[in-house]
Protein backbone atom coordinates (compact mmCIF):
# COMPACT_ATOMS: atom_id res chain seq x y z
CA UNK A 1 0.00 0.00 0.00
CA UNK A 2 1.04 3.51 -0.78
CA UNK A 3 2.61 5.27 2.17
CA UNK A 4 0.36 8.32 2.12
CA UNK A 5 -2.65 6.04 1.92
CA UNK A 6 -1.43 4.05 4.89
CA UNK A 7 -1.11 7.28 6.84
CA UNK A 8 -4.63 8.28 5.84
CA UNK A 9 -5.91 4.89 6.86
CA UNK A 10 -4.27 5.19 10.25
CA UNK A 11 -5.65 8.70 10.63
CA UNK A 12 -9.17 7.43 9.87
CA UNK A 13 -8.92 4.86 12.62
CA UNK A 14 -7.54 7.37 15.12
CA UNK A 15 -10.22 9.96 14.34
CA UNK A 16 -12.92 7.33 14.68
CA UNK A 17 -11.53 6.18 18.02
CA UNK A 18 -11.28 9.78 19.22
CA UNK A 19 -14.89 10.44 18.21
CA UNK A 20 -16.34 7.45 20.01
CA UNK A 21 -14.24 8.17 23.10
CA UNK A 22 -15.42 11.79 23.09
CA UNK A 23 -19.14 11.04 22.79
CA UNK A 24 -19.70 11.11 26.58
CA UNK A 25 -18.77 14.81 26.49
CA UNK A 26 -21.81 15.57 24.37
CA UNK A 27 -24.49 13.07 25.30
CA UNK A 28 -26.32 12.06 28.45
CA UNK A 29 -26.48 8.54 29.87
CA UNK A 30 -29.66 7.70 28.02
CA UNK A 31 -28.05 8.39 24.66
CA UNK A 32 -24.78 6.80 25.73
CA UNK A 33 -26.62 3.58 26.45
CA UNK A 34 -28.07 3.73 22.96
CA UNK A 35 -24.67 4.44 21.45
CA UNK A 36 -23.22 1.53 23.40
CA UNK A 37 -25.68 -0.70 21.56
CA UNK A 38 -24.82 0.90 18.23
CA UNK A 39 -21.13 0.33 18.87
CA UNK A 40 -22.00 -3.31 19.47
CA UNK A 41 -23.73 -3.31 16.08
CA UNK A 42 -20.56 -1.77 14.66
CA UNK A 43 -18.62 -4.66 16.10
CA UNK A 44 -21.03 -7.10 14.45
CA UNK A 45 -20.42 -5.37 11.14
CA UNK A 46 -16.66 -5.82 11.62
CA UNK A 47 -17.25 -9.57 11.87
CA UNK A 48 -19.42 -9.50 8.74
CA UNK A 49 -16.81 -7.51 6.85
CA UNK A 50 -14.13 -10.01 7.84
CA UNK A 51 -16.09 -13.00 6.60
CA UNK A 52 -17.86 -11.41 3.64
CA UNK A 53 -15.42 -8.76 2.46
CA UNK A 54 -12.13 -10.45 3.23
CA UNK A 55 -12.96 -14.15 3.11
CA UNK A 56 -15.72 -13.94 0.52
CA UNK A 57 -18.01 -16.02 2.71
CA UNK A 58 -21.49 -14.52 2.99
CA UNK A 59 -22.79 -15.66 6.33
CA UNK A 60 -26.53 -15.00 6.64
CA UNK A 61 -26.59 -16.55 10.09
CA UNK A 62 -24.21 -14.33 12.00
CA UNK A 63 -27.08 -13.79 14.45
CA UNK A 64 -26.48 -17.36 15.59
CA UNK A 65 -23.09 -16.46 17.05
CA UNK A 66 -24.40 -13.16 18.38
CA UNK A 67 -27.29 -14.98 20.02
CA UNK A 68 -25.12 -17.68 21.55
CA UNK A 69 -22.77 -15.05 22.98
CA UNK A 70 -25.71 -13.09 24.35
CA UNK A 71 -27.32 -16.13 25.99
CA UNK A 72 -24.10 -17.32 27.58
CA UNK A 73 -23.57 -13.93 29.21
CA UNK A 74 -27.24 -13.55 30.10
CA UNK A 75 -27.25 -16.87 31.94
CA UNK A 76 -24.54 -15.61 34.25
CA UNK A 77 -26.19 -12.22 34.71
CA UNK A 78 -29.57 -13.83 35.31
CA UNK A 79 -28.13 -15.84 38.17
CA UNK A 80 -26.60 -12.64 39.57
CA UNK A 81 -29.95 -10.81 39.63
CA UNK A 82 -31.73 -10.05 42.87
CA UNK A 83 -34.75 -12.19 41.96
CA UNK A 84 -32.62 -15.25 41.26
CA UNK A 85 -30.79 -14.84 44.55
CA UNK A 86 -33.99 -14.60 46.56
CA UNK A 87 -35.65 -17.85 45.67
CA UNK A 88 -35.33 -19.35 49.10
CA UNK A 89 -32.42 -21.60 48.25
CA UNK A 90 -28.73 -21.31 49.06
CA UNK A 91 -27.86 -21.03 45.39
CA UNK A 92 -29.55 -18.69 42.89
CA UNK A 93 -32.37 -20.05 40.74
CA UNK A 94 -33.89 -18.13 37.82
CA UNK A 95 -37.45 -17.07 38.53
CA UNK A 96 -38.91 -18.58 35.36
CA UNK A 97 -37.70 -22.02 36.41
CA UNK A 98 -39.71 -21.73 39.60
CA UNK A 99 -42.85 -20.64 37.82
CA UNK A 100 -42.78 -23.75 35.70
CA UNK A 101 -41.38 -26.18 38.26
CA UNK A 102 -43.10 -29.50 38.88
CA UNK A 103 -44.76 -29.56 42.31
CA UNK A 104 -42.26 -30.81 44.84
CA UNK A 105 -39.20 -30.25 42.69
CA UNK A 106 -36.16 -29.24 44.69
CA UNK A 107 -35.44 -25.51 44.41
CA UNK A 108 -31.90 -25.89 43.18
CA UNK A 109 -30.19 -25.69 39.81
CA UNK A 110 -29.17 -29.31 40.12
CA UNK A 111 -32.65 -30.67 39.72
CA UNK A 112 -35.46 -28.14 39.52
CA UNK A 113 -35.95 -29.41 35.96
CA UNK A 114 -34.16 -31.77 33.64
CA UNK A 115 -31.94 -29.24 31.96
CA UNK A 116 -31.35 -26.79 34.77
CA UNK A 117 -28.00 -28.36 35.73
CA UNK A 118 -26.56 -26.74 32.60
CA UNK A 119 -26.82 -23.45 34.46
CA UNK A 120 -24.66 -24.52 37.41
CA UNK A 121 -21.26 -23.36 36.08
CA UNK A 122 -22.77 -20.02 35.01
CA UNK A 123 -22.88 -18.94 38.64
CA UNK A 124 -19.33 -17.87 37.94
CA UNK A 125 -19.57 -14.76 35.78
CA UNK A 126 -16.18 -15.50 34.20
CA UNK A 127 -17.49 -18.82 32.98
CA UNK A 128 -20.31 -16.95 31.23
CA UNK A 129 -17.81 -14.55 29.66
CA UNK A 130 -15.54 -17.34 28.50
CA UNK A 131 -18.44 -19.32 27.06
CA UNK A 132 -19.86 -16.33 25.21
CA UNK A 133 -16.73 -16.44 23.06
CA UNK A 134 -15.86 -20.14 23.25
CA UNK A 135 -19.28 -21.48 22.26
CA UNK A 136 -19.62 -19.40 19.07
CA UNK A 137 -16.07 -20.42 18.14
CA UNK A 138 -16.83 -24.07 18.79
CA UNK A 139 -20.01 -23.99 16.71
CA UNK A 140 -18.26 -22.05 13.94
CA UNK A 141 -15.37 -24.51 14.04
CA UNK A 142 -17.62 -27.53 13.59
CA UNK A 143 -19.81 -25.86 10.98
CA UNK A 144 -16.79 -24.45 9.14
CA UNK A 145 -14.96 -27.77 9.17
CA UNK A 146 -17.94 -29.45 7.53
CA UNK A 147 -18.74 -26.70 5.05
CA UNK A 148 -15.25 -25.70 3.96
CA UNK A 149 -13.75 -29.19 3.84
CA UNK A 150 -16.57 -30.07 1.46
CA UNK A 151 -15.58 -26.99 -0.56
CA UNK A 152 -19.05 -25.57 -0.27
CA UNK A 153 -19.00 -21.92 -1.21
CA UNK A 154 -20.99 -18.94 -2.35
CA UNK A 155 -24.74 -18.98 -2.05
CA UNK A 156 -24.75 -22.46 -0.52
CA UNK A 157 -22.88 -21.25 2.56
CA UNK A 158 -25.43 -18.46 2.87
CA UNK A 159 -28.29 -20.96 2.72
CA UNK A 160 -26.71 -23.32 5.24
CA UNK A 161 -25.96 -20.57 7.77
CA UNK A 162 -29.43 -19.12 7.26
CA UNK A 163 -31.07 -22.47 7.90
CA UNK A 164 -28.90 -23.10 10.93
CA UNK A 165 -29.74 -19.84 12.68
CA UNK A 166 -33.45 -20.54 12.19
CA UNK A 167 -33.03 -24.05 13.52
CA UNK A 168 -31.22 -22.91 16.65
CA UNK A 169 -33.77 -20.17 17.20
CA UNK A 170 -36.48 -22.83 17.15
CA UNK A 171 -34.53 -25.01 19.60
CA UNK A 172 -34.06 -22.09 21.98
CA UNK A 173 -37.76 -21.27 21.94
CA UNK A 174 -38.61 -24.92 22.35
CA UNK A 175 -36.31 -25.51 25.32
CA UNK A 176 -38.50 -23.32 27.48
CA UNK A 177 -37.54 -24.81 30.88
CA UNK A 178 -33.88 -23.93 30.28
CA UNK A 179 -34.06 -20.82 28.10
CA UNK A 180 -37.39 -19.26 29.07
CA UNK A 181 -38.51 -19.77 25.48
CA UNK A 182 -39.58 -16.83 23.39
CA UNK A 183 -39.59 -14.54 26.41
CA UNK A 184 -35.82 -14.63 26.48
CA UNK A 185 -33.86 -13.81 29.60
CA UNK A 186 -34.85 -10.57 31.25
CA UNK A 187 -34.41 -9.01 34.67
CA UNK A 188 -30.67 -9.51 34.61
CA UNK A 189 -28.11 -8.52 37.20
CA UNK A 190 -25.30 -6.13 36.43
CA UNK A 191 -22.00 -7.15 34.99
CA UNK A 192 -19.39 -6.84 37.75
CA UNK A 193 -15.61 -6.64 37.60
CA UNK A 194 -13.58 -6.39 40.79
CA UNK A 195 -16.60 -5.17 42.68
CA UNK A 196 -17.50 -2.49 40.14
CA UNK A 197 -21.04 -2.90 38.87
CA UNK A 198 -21.63 -1.89 35.25
CA UNK A 199 -25.01 -0.21 35.47
CA UNK A 200 -25.98 0.07 31.78
CA UNK A 201 -26.78 3.74 32.28
CA UNK A 202 -23.41 4.94 33.50
CA UNK A 203 -20.57 6.27 31.39
CA UNK A 204 -18.25 3.43 32.46
CA UNK A 205 -20.42 0.90 30.67
CA UNK A 206 -20.23 2.98 27.53
CA UNK A 207 -16.43 3.04 27.84
CA UNK A 208 -16.39 -0.71 28.39
CA UNK A 209 -18.14 -1.20 25.05
CA UNK A 210 -16.13 1.52 23.28
CA UNK A 211 -12.87 0.02 24.54
CA UNK A 212 -13.96 -3.44 23.40
CA UNK A 213 -14.79 -2.09 19.95
CA UNK A 214 -11.44 -0.30 19.64
CA UNK A 215 -9.67 -3.49 20.66
CA UNK A 216 -11.67 -5.61 18.23
CA UNK A 217 -11.28 -3.24 15.32
CA UNK A 218 -7.54 -2.81 15.86
CA UNK A 219 -6.99 -6.52 16.37
CA UNK A 220 -8.98 -7.51 13.31
CA UNK A 221 -7.26 -4.92 11.17
CA UNK A 222 -3.84 -6.17 12.26
CA UNK A 223 -4.95 -9.74 11.64
CA UNK A 224 -5.87 -9.08 8.02
CA UNK A 225 -2.50 -7.39 7.51
CA UNK A 226 -0.67 -10.59 8.45
CA UNK A 227 0.49 -13.17 5.93
CA UNK A 228 -2.49 -15.30 6.92
CA UNK A 229 -4.78 -12.36 6.14
CA UNK A 230 -3.19 -12.03 2.73
CA UNK A 231 -3.70 -15.72 2.03
CA UNK A 232 -7.32 -15.31 3.11
CA UNK A 233 -7.88 -12.58 0.53
CA UNK A 234 -6.16 -14.72 -2.07
CA UNK A 235 -8.59 -17.53 -1.23
CA UNK A 236 -11.47 -15.12 -1.79
CA UNK A 237 -10.13 -14.30 -5.26
CA UNK A 238 -9.25 -17.82 -6.42
CA UNK A 239 -9.20 -20.63 -3.93
CA UNK A 240 -7.97 -23.22 -6.40
CA UNK A 241 -4.85 -21.18 -7.13
CA UNK A 242 -4.14 -20.96 -3.40
CA UNK A 243 -4.66 -24.69 -3.04
CA UNK A 244 -2.16 -25.44 -5.82
CA UNK A 245 0.33 -23.12 -4.12
CA UNK A 246 0.28 -25.60 -1.25
CA UNK A 247 -1.86 -23.79 1.31
CA UNK A 248 -4.53 -25.72 3.19
CA UNK A 249 -7.44 -23.55 2.04
CA UNK A 250 -10.11 -25.01 4.33
CA UNK A 251 -8.01 -24.38 7.45
CA UNK A 252 -7.69 -20.70 6.66
CA UNK A 253 -11.40 -20.44 5.98
CA UNK A 254 -12.30 -22.23 9.21
CA UNK A 255 -9.86 -20.10 11.22
CA UNK A 256 -11.25 -16.79 10.00
CA UNK A 257 -14.83 -18.06 10.22
CA UNK A 258 -14.11 -18.77 13.89
CA UNK A 259 -12.60 -15.31 14.39
CA UNK A 260 -15.70 -13.77 12.85
CA UNK A 261 -17.88 -15.89 15.16
CA UNK A 262 -15.80 -14.87 18.16
CA UNK A 263 -16.35 -11.21 17.31
CA UNK A 264 -20.10 -11.79 17.02
CA UNK A 265 -20.17 -13.70 20.30
CA UNK A 266 -18.21 -10.93 22.00
CA UNK A 267 -20.68 -8.42 20.58
CA UNK A 268 -23.59 -10.49 21.90
CA UNK A 269 -22.02 -10.55 25.34
CA UNK A 270 -21.59 -6.76 25.39
CA UNK A 271 -25.08 -6.21 24.05
CA UNK A 272 -26.52 -8.21 26.93
CA UNK A 273 -24.56 -6.10 29.39
CA UNK A 274 -25.80 -2.86 27.83
CA UNK A 275 -29.37 -3.87 27.02
CA UNK A 276 -30.08 -6.03 30.08
CA UNK A 277 -31.92 -8.73 28.20
CA UNK A 278 -31.48 -11.43 25.62
CA UNK A 279 -34.07 -12.97 23.42
CA UNK A 280 -34.56 -15.41 20.53
CA UNK A 281 -35.19 -12.39 18.31
CA UNK A 282 -31.39 -12.06 18.13
CA UNK A 283 -31.58 -15.16 15.98
CA UNK A 284 -34.34 -13.84 13.75
CA UNK A 285 -33.51 -14.01 10.10
CA UNK A 286 -34.25 -10.31 9.70
CA UNK A 287 -31.58 -9.35 12.20
CA UNK A 288 -28.87 -11.41 10.51
CA UNK A 289 -29.76 -9.86 7.17
CA UNK A 290 -29.82 -6.38 8.69
CA UNK A 291 -26.21 -6.86 9.77
CA UNK A 292 -25.27 -7.70 6.21
CA UNK A 293 -27.01 -4.55 5.01
CA UNK A 294 -25.03 -2.43 7.49
CA UNK A 295 -21.81 -3.90 6.19
CA UNK A 296 -22.89 -3.42 2.57
CA UNK A 297 -23.77 0.23 3.12
CA UNK A 298 -20.59 0.94 5.06
CA UNK A 299 -18.44 -1.05 2.64
CA UNK A 300 -17.82 -4.72 3.19
CA UNK A 301 -14.24 -4.55 1.96
CA UNK A 302 -13.36 -2.16 4.76
CA UNK A 303 -13.56 -3.19 8.40
CA UNK A 304 -13.89 0.35 9.68
CA UNK A 305 -16.25 1.26 6.83
CA UNK A 306 -18.65 -1.53 7.77
CA UNK A 307 -18.36 -0.54 11.43
CA UNK A 308 -19.13 3.12 10.79
CA UNK A 309 -21.92 2.09 8.43
CA UNK A 310 -23.65 0.14 11.19
CA UNK A 311 -23.30 2.94 13.72
CA UNK A 312 -24.48 5.62 11.28
CA UNK A 313 -27.49 3.69 10.05
CA UNK A 314 -28.65 2.97 13.58
CA UNK A 315 -28.14 6.53 14.73
CA UNK A 316 -30.02 7.89 11.73
CA UNK A 317 -32.79 5.34 12.24
CA UNK A 318 -33.16 6.33 15.87
CA UNK A 319 -33.19 10.04 15.07
CA UNK A 320 -35.65 9.69 12.22
CA UNK A 321 -38.05 7.31 13.90
CA UNK A 322 -38.34 9.77 16.76
CA UNK A 323 -38.87 12.81 14.58
CA UNK A 324 -42.59 13.48 14.62
CA UNK A 325 -42.91 14.43 10.95
CA UNK A 326 -41.20 11.22 9.86
CA UNK A 327 -43.00 8.74 12.07
CA UNK A 328 -44.77 7.25 9.06
CA UNK A 329 -42.07 7.70 6.47
CA UNK A 330 -38.77 6.85 8.10
CA UNK A 331 -38.66 3.21 7.09
CA UNK A 332 -39.25 4.15 3.48
CA UNK A 333 -36.47 6.73 3.66
CA UNK A 334 -34.01 4.24 5.16
CA UNK A 335 -34.95 1.71 2.51
CA UNK A 336 -34.44 4.35 -0.17
CA UNK A 337 -30.97 5.13 1.19
CA UNK A 338 -30.06 1.41 1.08
CA UNK A 339 -31.19 1.10 -2.52
CA UNK A 340 -29.30 4.24 -3.53
CA UNK A 341 -26.10 3.07 -1.89
CA UNK A 342 -26.25 -0.37 -3.46
CA UNK A 343 -27.01 1.13 -6.89
CA UNK A 344 -24.50 3.94 -6.93
CA UNK A 345 -21.89 2.97 -4.35
CA UNK A 346 -21.47 -0.77 -4.78
CA UNK A 347 -18.42 -0.68 -2.52
CA UNK A 348 -20.32 1.25 0.11
CA UNK A 349 -19.39 4.44 1.88
CA UNK A 350 -15.84 3.20 2.42
CA UNK A 351 -15.40 2.59 -1.30
CA UNK A 352 -16.67 6.08 -1.99
CA UNK A 353 -14.30 7.59 0.57
CA UNK A 354 -11.49 5.53 -0.94
CA UNK A 355 -12.17 6.85 -4.44
CA UNK A 356 -12.37 10.42 -3.19
CA UNK A 357 -9.04 10.05 -1.40
CA UNK A 358 -7.46 8.58 -4.51
CA UNK A 359 -8.71 11.52 -6.52
CA UNK A 360 -7.39 13.99 -3.98
CA UNK A 361 -4.02 12.25 -3.74
CA UNK A 362 -3.67 12.07 -7.49
CA UNK A 363 -4.43 15.73 -7.93
CA UNK A 364 -1.74 16.39 -5.35
CA UNK A 365 0.61 14.09 -7.25
CA UNK A 366 1.09 11.82 -4.25
CA UNK A 367 -0.49 8.63 -5.50
CA UNK A 368 1.57 5.79 -6.87
CA UNK A 369 0.45 4.51 -10.21
CA UNK A 370 -2.10 1.78 -9.67
CA UNK A 371 -3.94 1.61 -12.93
CA UNK A 372 -1.79 -0.65 -15.06
CA UNK A 373 0.78 -0.31 -17.78
CA UNK A 374 -1.23 2.08 -19.87
CA UNK A 375 -0.78 4.82 -17.33
CA UNK A 376 2.96 4.34 -16.98
CA UNK A 377 4.06 7.19 -19.16
CA UNK A 378 1.51 9.69 -18.04
CA UNK A 379 3.52 12.42 -16.34
CA UNK A 380 2.54 13.50 -12.89
CA UNK A 381 0.78 16.83 -12.84
CA UNK A 382 3.39 19.54 -12.58
CA UNK A 383 3.49 21.15 -9.22
CA UNK A 384 3.63 24.89 -9.08
CA UNK A 385 6.93 26.27 -8.02
CA UNK A 386 6.21 28.48 -5.11
Amino acid sequence: MNRSKLALDLATYLVFFAVILALPLFYDEFWLNRFAKYLVYGMLAVGISLSWGYAGVLNLGQGLFFGIGAYMMAMSLKLASATSLQQGADTPVPDFMLWNAEPGAKTDLCCINQGSFLWIPFQDQWFGIAMSIAMPVLVAGILGAIVFRQRISGVFVAIITLALVLLVRLLVIDAQPVTNGFNGLTDLGWFTILGFEFDPYVVETYYLVAGALILTLTGTRLLVETRAGLILQAIRDDQNRVRYLGHAVARYQVFFFCVSAAIAGFAGMLYTIAAEFTSPTFMDLAFSITMVVWAAVGGRASLIGACIGAILINTIEAEMSETEELVEAWKAIIGFIFVMVVLFLPRGLAGFAHDMTDLALRSLGLAERETGTAARDVPLPAREEA
Binding site: T226, D238, R241, Y244, L245, V249, R251
Partner: protein, 249 residues
Protein backbone atom coordinates in the same frame (compact mmCIF):
# COMPACT_ATOMS: atom_id res chain seq x y z
CA UNK B 1 21.73 -40.88 -16.90
CA UNK B 2 20.07 -38.10 -14.96
CA UNK B 3 17.82 -38.83 -12.02
CA UNK B 4 14.09 -39.20 -12.63
CA UNK B 5 12.20 -36.21 -11.21
CA UNK B 6 8.70 -37.25 -12.14
CA UNK B 7 7.83 -40.86 -12.73
CA UNK B 8 4.42 -41.67 -14.13
CA UNK B 9 3.75 -45.37 -14.01
CA UNK B 10 0.82 -46.91 -15.90
CA UNK B 11 -1.37 -44.00 -14.80
CA UNK B 12 -4.99 -44.08 -15.79
CA UNK B 13 -8.43 -42.76 -15.00
CA UNK B 14 -11.79 -43.84 -16.25
CA UNK B 15 -14.94 -41.78 -16.10
CA UNK B 16 -17.79 -44.24 -16.08
CA UNK B 17 -15.99 -46.64 -18.38
CA UNK B 18 -14.45 -43.97 -20.62
CA UNK B 19 -10.68 -44.03 -20.20
CA UNK B 20 -9.58 -40.43 -20.52
CA UNK B 21 -6.03 -41.43 -19.66
CA UNK B 22 -5.03 -45.02 -20.18
CA UNK B 23 -1.84 -46.63 -18.93
CA UNK B 24 0.39 -43.68 -19.51
CA UNK B 25 4.00 -44.27 -18.49
CA UNK B 26 6.66 -41.64 -18.78
CA UNK B 27 9.67 -40.31 -16.94
CA UNK B 28 10.63 -36.65 -16.75
CA UNK B 29 14.28 -36.39 -15.79
CA UNK B 30 15.71 -33.83 -13.44
CA UNK B 31 16.17 -30.51 -15.22
CA UNK B 32 14.41 -31.71 -18.34
CA UNK B 33 11.91 -29.68 -20.33
CA UNK B 34 9.36 -32.05 -21.76
CA UNK B 35 6.61 -30.96 -24.12
CA UNK B 36 3.34 -32.84 -24.22
CA UNK B 37 1.63 -32.76 -27.60
CA UNK B 38 -1.70 -34.09 -28.67
CA UNK B 39 -4.95 -33.17 -30.36
CA UNK B 40 -7.96 -31.98 -28.40
CA UNK B 41 -9.24 -34.75 -26.19
CA UNK B 42 -5.91 -36.58 -26.19
CA UNK B 43 -5.86 -36.42 -22.37
CA UNK B 44 -3.04 -33.89 -21.84
CA UNK B 45 -4.87 -31.70 -19.35
CA UNK B 46 -6.39 -34.74 -17.65
CA UNK B 47 -2.89 -36.15 -17.23
CA UNK B 48 -1.87 -32.91 -15.49
CA UNK B 49 -5.01 -33.10 -13.34
CA UNK B 50 -3.98 -36.59 -12.27
CA UNK B 51 -0.44 -35.55 -11.41
CA UNK B 52 -1.49 -32.47 -9.47
CA UNK B 53 -4.32 -34.18 -7.60
CA UNK B 54 -7.24 -32.35 -9.17
CA UNK B 55 -8.59 -35.64 -10.46
CA UNK B 56 -8.04 -38.90 -8.60
CA UNK B 57 -6.53 -41.61 -10.71
CA UNK B 58 -8.04 -45.07 -10.83
CA UNK B 59 -4.89 -46.90 -11.88
CA UNK B 60 -1.13 -46.53 -11.68
CA UNK B 61 1.21 -44.43 -9.55
CA UNK B 62 2.92 -41.05 -9.66
CA UNK B 63 6.29 -40.56 -7.98
CA UNK B 64 8.10 -37.31 -7.36
CA UNK B 65 11.68 -38.46 -6.93
CA UNK B 66 11.26 -41.14 -4.25
CA UNK B 67 7.93 -39.90 -2.91
CA UNK B 68 4.69 -41.51 -3.90
CA UNK B 69 2.33 -38.56 -4.52
CA UNK B 70 -0.49 -40.52 -6.12
CA UNK B 71 -3.89 -39.08 -5.24
CA UNK B 72 -2.72 -36.95 -2.34
CA UNK B 73 -4.70 -33.79 -1.60
CA UNK B 74 -3.84 -30.96 -4.00
CA UNK B 75 -2.07 -28.79 -1.45
CA UNK B 76 0.03 -31.72 -0.26
CA UNK B 77 1.18 -32.50 -3.78
CA UNK B 78 2.03 -28.82 -4.20
CA UNK B 79 4.01 -28.88 -0.95
CA UNK B 80 5.98 -31.87 -2.17
CA UNK B 81 7.18 -29.66 -4.99
CA UNK B 82 4.79 -29.87 -7.93
CA UNK B 83 3.75 -26.46 -9.28
CA UNK B 84 0.78 -26.26 -11.61
CA UNK B 85 -0.11 -23.49 -14.01
CA UNK B 86 -3.61 -23.54 -15.35
CA UNK B 87 -4.74 -23.14 -18.92
CA UNK B 88 -6.97 -20.23 -17.98
CA UNK B 89 -4.63 -17.90 -16.07
CA UNK B 90 -5.65 -17.82 -12.46
CA UNK B 91 -4.25 -15.08 -10.28
CA UNK B 92 -5.58 -13.09 -7.33
CA UNK B 93 -7.26 -10.27 -9.18
CA UNK B 94 -7.96 -7.97 -6.25
CA UNK B 95 -4.42 -8.17 -4.93
CA UNK B 96 -1.42 -6.30 -6.30
CA UNK B 97 1.29 -8.05 -8.30
CA UNK B 98 3.61 -8.00 -5.33
CA UNK B 99 0.91 -9.34 -3.03
CA UNK B 100 0.29 -12.17 -5.48
CA UNK B 101 3.94 -13.11 -5.18
CA UNK B 102 3.79 -12.72 -1.42
CA UNK B 103 0.95 -15.24 -1.18
CA UNK B 104 3.19 -17.70 -3.01
CA UNK B 105 6.06 -16.81 -0.67
CA UNK B 106 4.26 -17.82 2.52
CA UNK B 107 6.24 -21.00 2.81
CA UNK B 108 5.31 -22.03 6.30
CA UNK B 109 1.98 -23.60 5.74
CA UNK B 110 0.20 -23.67 9.08
CA UNK B 111 -2.34 -20.90 9.71
CA UNK B 112 -0.81 -19.87 13.02
CA UNK B 113 2.71 -19.76 11.60
CA UNK B 114 1.42 -17.12 9.20
CA UNK B 115 -0.02 -14.88 11.91
CA UNK B 116 2.86 -12.47 11.49
CA UNK B 117 3.85 -9.52 9.37
CA UNK B 118 6.13 -9.23 6.37
CA UNK B 119 8.84 -11.50 5.06
CA UNK B 120 12.46 -12.25 5.84
CA UNK B 121 15.26 -10.81 3.73
CA UNK B 122 15.73 -14.05 1.76
CA UNK B 123 12.09 -14.21 0.69
CA UNK B 124 12.00 -10.50 -0.12
CA UNK B 125 14.99 -10.79 -2.41
CA UNK B 126 13.43 -13.87 -4.00
CA UNK B 127 10.30 -11.83 -4.73
CA UNK B 128 12.51 -9.14 -6.32
CA UNK B 129 14.24 -11.76 -8.48
CA UNK B 130 10.96 -13.08 -9.78
CA UNK B 131 9.60 -9.58 -10.34
CA UNK B 132 12.63 -9.05 -12.60
CA UNK B 133 12.35 -12.45 -14.28
CA UNK B 134 8.72 -11.87 -15.20
CA UNK B 135 9.27 -8.22 -16.12
CA UNK B 136 6.61 -7.10 -13.65
CA UNK B 137 8.86 -5.04 -11.38
CA UNK B 138 7.45 -1.73 -12.61
CA UNK B 139 3.91 -2.95 -12.08
CA UNK B 140 4.38 -4.33 -8.61
CA UNK B 141 1.67 -2.15 -7.06
CA UNK B 142 -0.79 -2.68 -9.88
CA UNK B 143 -3.85 -4.79 -9.19
CA UNK B 144 -3.59 -8.10 -11.00
CA UNK B 145 -6.98 -7.44 -12.60
CA UNK B 146 -5.54 -4.59 -14.66
CA UNK B 147 -2.63 -6.53 -16.13
CA UNK B 148 -2.58 -7.50 -19.79
CA UNK B 149 -3.27 -11.11 -20.70
CA UNK B 150 0.39 -11.90 -21.20
CA UNK B 151 1.40 -10.26 -17.95
CA UNK B 152 -1.25 -12.27 -16.13
CA UNK B 153 0.26 -15.48 -17.51
CA UNK B 154 3.73 -14.38 -16.37
CA UNK B 155 2.37 -13.45 -12.97
CA UNK B 156 0.98 -16.93 -12.48
CA UNK B 157 4.18 -18.48 -13.75
CA UNK B 158 6.16 -16.27 -11.37
CA UNK B 159 4.06 -17.39 -8.42
CA UNK B 160 5.08 -20.95 -9.15
CA UNK B 161 8.73 -20.12 -9.73
CA UNK B 162 8.95 -18.29 -6.41
CA UNK B 163 8.19 -21.55 -4.66
CA UNK B 164 11.11 -23.33 -6.34
CA UNK B 165 9.08 -26.41 -7.20
CA UNK B 166 10.89 -29.54 -8.26
CA UNK B 167 8.49 -30.10 -11.13
CA UNK B 168 6.49 -27.48 -13.02
CA UNK B 169 3.36 -28.44 -14.91
CA UNK B 170 2.45 -25.76 -17.45
CA UNK B 171 -0.82 -26.05 -19.32
CA UNK B 172 -0.61 -23.99 -22.51
CA UNK B 173 1.44 -21.15 -21.07
CA UNK B 174 1.25 -19.13 -24.30
CA UNK B 175 -2.48 -19.46 -24.93
CA UNK B 176 -3.80 -16.17 -26.26
CA UNK B 177 -0.40 -14.45 -26.32
CA UNK B 178 0.98 -12.20 -29.03
CA UNK B 179 4.12 -13.30 -30.86
CA UNK B 180 6.33 -11.03 -28.80
CA UNK B 181 4.77 -12.29 -25.59
CA UNK B 182 5.17 -15.89 -26.73
CA UNK B 183 8.82 -15.24 -27.45
CA UNK B 184 9.41 -13.81 -24.01
CA UNK B 185 7.54 -16.69 -22.38
CA UNK B 186 9.82 -19.09 -24.21
CA UNK B 187 12.83 -17.25 -22.80
CA UNK B 188 11.45 -17.47 -19.28
CA UNK B 189 10.69 -21.15 -19.65
CA UNK B 190 14.09 -21.91 -21.16
CA UNK B 191 15.73 -20.17 -18.21
CA UNK B 192 13.78 -22.41 -15.85
CA UNK B 193 14.85 -25.67 -17.46
CA UNK B 194 17.89 -27.12 -15.77
CA UNK B 195 16.94 -25.80 -12.36
CA UNK B 196 13.44 -27.25 -12.52
CA UNK B 197 11.95 -30.16 -14.37
CA UNK B 198 9.14 -29.04 -16.61
CA UNK B 199 6.21 -30.69 -18.30
CA UNK B 200 4.58 -28.32 -20.78
CA UNK B 201 1.39 -28.78 -22.77
CA UNK B 202 1.56 -26.63 -25.87
CA UNK B 203 -0.03 -26.29 -29.30
CA UNK B 204 2.02 -23.46 -30.75
CA UNK B 205 4.59 -25.30 -32.84
CA UNK B 206 6.89 -22.30 -33.27
CA UNK B 207 7.00 -22.11 -29.50
CA UNK B 208 7.60 -25.83 -29.21
CA UNK B 209 10.58 -25.53 -31.54
CA UNK B 210 11.95 -22.76 -29.38
CA UNK B 211 11.78 -24.68 -26.10
CA UNK B 212 11.60 -28.40 -26.66
CA UNK B 213 14.30 -30.96 -26.78
CA UNK B 214 12.07 -33.88 -26.00
CA UNK B 215 8.46 -34.40 -26.95
CA UNK B 216 5.82 -36.86 -25.85
CA UNK B 217 2.76 -37.27 -28.02
CA UNK B 218 -0.57 -38.45 -26.65
CA UNK B 219 -3.51 -39.68 -28.62
CA UNK B 220 -6.92 -40.73 -27.27
CA UNK B 221 -5.61 -41.09 -23.73
CA UNK B 222 -2.61 -43.17 -24.66
CA UNK B 223 1.05 -42.50 -25.32
CA UNK B 224 1.68 -42.50 -29.03
CA UNK B 225 5.32 -41.55 -29.39
CA UNK B 226 8.26 -40.04 -27.63
CA UNK B 227 11.42 -38.51 -29.01
CA UNK B 228 13.19 -35.43 -30.33
CA UNK B 229 11.33 -32.94 -32.46
CA UNK B 230 12.80 -34.44 -35.64
CA UNK B 231 11.85 -37.97 -34.65
CA UNK B 232 8.32 -36.88 -33.87
CA UNK B 233 8.02 -35.02 -37.15
CA UNK B 234 9.01 -38.05 -39.11
CA UNK B 235 7.00 -40.56 -37.10
CA UNK B 236 4.27 -41.81 -39.46
CA UNK B 237 1.85 -42.67 -36.65
CA UNK B 238 2.07 -39.17 -35.24
CA UNK B 239 1.64 -37.65 -38.66
CA UNK B 240 -1.57 -39.53 -39.30
CA UNK B 241 -2.98 -39.13 -35.80
CA UNK B 242 -2.17 -35.56 -35.04
CA UNK B 243 -0.19 -33.53 -37.50
CA UNK B 244 -2.12 -34.40 -40.59
CA UNK B 245 -0.28 -34.76 -43.84
CA UNK B 246 1.48 -31.38 -43.64
CA UNK B 247 3.87 -32.25 -40.81
CA UNK B 248 4.88 -29.65 -38.26
CA UNK B 249 4.29 -26.32 -39.87
Amino acid sequence: MAQAALTIDALGVSFGGFKAVDEVTMIVEEGELRVLLGANGAGKTTLMDLISGKTKSTAGRVHLYDHDITNLEEHRIARQGVGRKFQIPSVFRDLSVQENFEVASCQNRSVFANIGFGFGAARRSRIEEVLELTGLADDRHVNASSLSHGQTQWLELGMLVIQDPKVLLLDEPTAGMTQAETHKTAEIINSLAGRHSLLVVEHDMAFVRQIASHITVMHLGRLLAEGTIEEIESNPEVRSAYLGSQGIA
